[in-house]
Symmetry: C2
Subunit: 121 residues, 2 copies
């Protein structure tokens, strides 16, 4: 989300926007969904999300870690491995996000139909 420099005159809306600025990013939702299953190492995530670049995965994970949704642990071993897991905060935000996902899937056709109608008019 691009913030610009005019403040939204509503504290609550600003706060929602702040949350969405992080978890609304392109790769964040998928990453969090995977992490909600179990802890994943960086490389496992990268292999699972085949098409994501290292760069974007690193960036996404770092953003989620910074806001407290994800914990990062360096695993002891001969080869450096890093494990990520959802925090309690991360689990908690998935409740409304799952509700939103339900909406998105249930009403996908409505949105598409609305677009077609708008673009035709």
């Amino acid at each position: 989300m691009k913030l610009g420099h005019r403040d939204i005159p509503s504290e609550a809306c600003r706060t929602v926007g702040d949350v969405l600025g992080q978890i609304g990013n392109k790769w964040s939702i998928l990453v969090m969904v995977l992490l909600s299953q179990r802890p994943w190492t960086f490389n496992a995530l990268r292999r699972e999300i085949d098409v994501i670049t290292q760069k974007m995965l690193t960036s996404t994970l770092r953003g989620l870690e910074r806001d407290g949704y994800v914990d990062r642990t360096v695993l002891p071993g001969s080869v450096v491995q890093v494990e990520y897991r959802l925090t309690e905060l991360g689990h908690d935000v998935l409740t409304p996000m799952n509700a939103l996902a339900d909406f998105a899937v249930d009403r996908r056709d409505d949105v598409i139909a609305a677009r077609a109608a708008y673009d035709a008019g």
Copy 2:
């Protein structure tokens, strides 16, 4: 939300991202919250959201209208006036969005604390 050109390998996540790409924009939530109260004319919205530019308000409303969250009606009168109201789809998406808002407000301090800790580490 910036989509780039690599597809997210999850239909559901893509669909959520699609919804958020519209309602997650900077001004959309506030506009929808106001519209959930009652129908508003363009100018009323503009005056209420004091700091928003005509340009952004127009753009935001057009996007919401295109995706079917908002209906636009030209009012008969001597001076052109346009009225916007939430559709059923618009009302329905506010249910998960309000849940997200609750999360955002309830856990605001957690997010802020996490950032401070991350930035200090």
